[in-house]
């Protein structure tokens, strides 16, 4: 492999991406690598078993190239696409803004065009990787049962990733020119998160509203949807036909996506260096504070609380990432409302969703306050005891939660005082549990690493989720005055106990 060539750079990029991914999976500990490999293998086997269970029956009956099949395949294709687009936007943004090795590469005698091409192709591979990880077991089962035509899934996924990457490049360059480099970073990240969530949540909500179930497959196969779809000969079904292994369709979609990517690369390669330089120049440029000089605090506790609130207020990206977790609770909320609103009072249905949402929100905010301290050495060298530091941060989190939840809780309390009381208790407990879990798994990180918190400690992520679920279960049962509430109470305590036993603090 010749140094400086496209393939040489490609190998370099893939090696870096692999190590980055492994480091995320192992929380940066090389000793955990073996466990990560075993975990991946177990997960893959699990997926294979799941795929066999789901596909064996339908595939044995045979797959016919009719409208329902095309709708289903296209729907799944669109779902994969909705996952790939945000990932690609994130990667493209990072390619422009993350300085990492860009200074070194751009100061080398390698052509900008080569660098840009390699970076874009690396993004295509990275974007395909997650989808392939999820799809490959299903493809393997399909190949085993129904023949080699299902291998067409592979080029189809790459084609889809190429389109997602092209789209991401177009969006990023467009934003760069429209709103400038400073805002592009933030807006691109929010666009990525919202586009990803919208299709996933939108289809779920549509399925719930029509059938009272969260299953998207049911939506894709419904009479209502099939009725408005074009005939089997329509060009709309080209990607679906490609997935089913029809050679002409496969060749057309793959060639079209490759052509699109090539055009985009040629169109933007010349601007890559300039864009990166502008992004670096502006960085996170100067922003005048709107309320200068109004930061008055008489005690260290007040100072810490005010600091947390001010930083949160000024970081829309962080807030959007935190609220995004809550956004995903919309479908179950709508499902509950649709299925049980006739039999139960609405407040009882809203309560668990609210508790779950607050639990998730508390987890995110506590991580930001407890672990995401950008100047932890400053805070630790201050003449303030560790207890006061921690209490101040917890107070900041709980106050923010209280402000966010108060209007809804108040409304529930006015309609049904008992449910309101249960809601308050459950929210307080869910928030306290989330804070406890974050304290057990506290680490030193920068706030900008917020998205990595879930990969850094999978135990805390699961503990947070199970704790929120337990408190949500408790709330609904307690609101309905059922003794089952006690079971959920015990479960919530159990989650905390297990988290404590597995926490590094204890080790």
């Amino acid at each position: 492999m010749q140094a400086g060539s496209l393939t040489w750079f490609g190998a370099h990029e893939i090696r870096l991406a692999w190590r980055d991914w492994m480091s995320m999976m192992t929380a940066g500990q090389r000793r955990s690598e073996r466990f990560a490999y075993v975990g991946i293998a177990v997960l893959a086997l699990g997926f294979l078993a799941l795929a066999y269970g789901l596909l064996a029956g339908p595939l044995a009956e045979g797959v016919t190239a009719d409208t329902p099949t095309f709708v289903l395949m296209s729907g799944l294709y669109a779902l994969a696409f909705s996952l790939m687009v945000p990932q690609a936007i994130e990667s493209v943004t990072r390619a422009f803004y993350a300085r990492a090795d860009l200074d070194l590469l751009l100061s080398s005698p390698v052509s900008e065009r080569t660098l840009f091409t390699v970076r874009v192709l690396a993004i295509v591979v990275q974007t395909s990787a997650l989808a392939l990880f999820l799809i490959l077991p299903f493809m393997a089962v399909a190949v085993m049962i129904d023949g080699a035509r299902w291998l067409a899934v592979l080029p189809s996924v790459f084609a889809l990733a190429a389109i997602a990457t092209s789209l991401a490049l177009l969006v990023t360059f467009l934003l760069f020119n429209l709103i400038g480099p400073r805002r592009t970073r933030l807006v691109a990240q929010i666009v990525a998160a919202v586009t990803g969530a919208c299709f996933l949540i939108g289809t779920q909500i549509a399925a719930i509203m029509m059938f009272g179930e969260m299953s998207r497959v049911k939506l894709f196969q419904s009479e209502e949807v099939l009725r408005i779809m074009p005939g089997v000969d329509s060009v709309v079904w080209l990607p679906a036909r490609a997935l089913l292994g029809e050679p002409v369709a496969l060749l057309t979609t793959t060639a079209a996506s490759a052509l699109l990517l090539t055009v985009v690369i040629f169109a933007f390669a010349g601007r890559f260096g300039r864009t990166v330089l502008i992004a670096a120049d502006v960085g996170e440029g100067a922003v005048k504070a709107r309320t200068p000089g109004r930061f008055k605090c008489r005690t260290p506790k007040q100072a810490l609380r005010q600091k947390e609130w001010r930083l949160l207020k000024r970081d829309p990206w962080l807030v959007s990432q935190t609220l995004m977790q809550v956004f995903y609770l919309l479908p179950p909320a709508i499902l509950l409302w649709r299925n049980y609103s006739a039999e139960t009072v609405a407040t009882v249905i809203i309560t668990p969703v609210l508790v779950m949402a607050v639990g998730q929100l508390a987890g995110g905010l506590s991580w930001i306050a407890i672990s995401g301290e950008d100047a932890h050495e400053l805070v630790e060298t201050a003449p303030v005891s560790a207890r006061i530091r921690t209490v101040a941060k917890i107070e900041a989190v709980l106050a923010a939660i209280a402000v966010a939840a108060a209007p809804l809780v108040l409304a529930i309390g006015i309609v049904h005082p008992w449910v309101g009381l249960v809601c308050v208790v459950s929210i307080a407990c869910a928030s306290a549990s989330a804070v406890c879990i974050q304290l057990m798994f506290r680490s030193h990180a920068r706030r900008s690493q917020f998205r990595r918190r879930q990969t850094a400690s999978k135990v805390s992520t699961f503990a947070e989720a199970f704790s929120s679920i337990s408190w949500a279960g408790f709330s609904v049962m307690a609101a309905a005055q059922s003794l089952w509430a006690l079971i959920f109470l015990v479960a919530a305590g159990g989650v905390l106990l297990v988290a404590y036993c597995l926490s590094p603090r204890r080790a």
Binding site: A289, T299, T381, V384
Partner: protein, 273 residues
Amino acid sequence: MSQPALVLQDLAKSFDTPAVDDLSLTIESGQIYALLGPNGAGKTTTLRMVTGLLQPDAGRIEVYGIDVARDPIDAKRIMAWVPDEPMIYDKLTPREYLAFVGGLWGMDPDVAIRRAEDLIGWLGLEEVADTRCQGFSKGMRQKVALAGALIHDPKLLILDEPLTGLDAGSARQVKSVLRDHVARGVTVILTTHILDVAERMADRIAVIARGRLAAEGTLDDLRDRSRSGETNLEDLFLEVVADAAIADAETAGAADAADRAQPTEASSDKAAA
């Protein structure tokens, strides 16, 4: 005689290998004290133990007579620490940052505001005082961090590589602010790789090598002790570090030889048989 600003007694800290090894040092108050040493010598580890960011494995640290282990809060009240990578909040302005630090140290808000204005002026931060720190250059961040360290009027100021990354103008401003504070009785301990800075600024110098104190004194003291008659700090520093390495190698060699001379259990058994 006034109370020493810092006393380190038999201080030790190991990670995988010893980082600080039986270090004893007394630093008198009201002076600039430079801690020199090659990379990985244990300078930053020592200072992090003094500031309470690391727990020593052994030894005692006293700051103006306050035992850091026994009374960390009181010790912290009169100390300030500026790490080599300034840790400030990108979303706060320098003025807000200073108000926050003042709050952390429990200062009266009005006093903190007045003091912040003075520091902003001394360090030439007026134009950016109400601009968020995101996008500040390293030098600017360093100045904001230094202002934060000085706002509560510490008696002991500890700085890790304070002048790295500063332009000539900023470096002069920082040096002038440090000198002013020393003239008012503040003790400044700094680590630096810029030997010229130590030579020009420090009243006393300590050279640490492999976690141990290799030499200590004024520049003249170090010159007097030089075997080769070196007069500039760079040559003196290299000589001291080389001597420390030789002494270490000799100690290790002697220990190995002693080990070899000591019969192992197996060989003793054989001999007994």
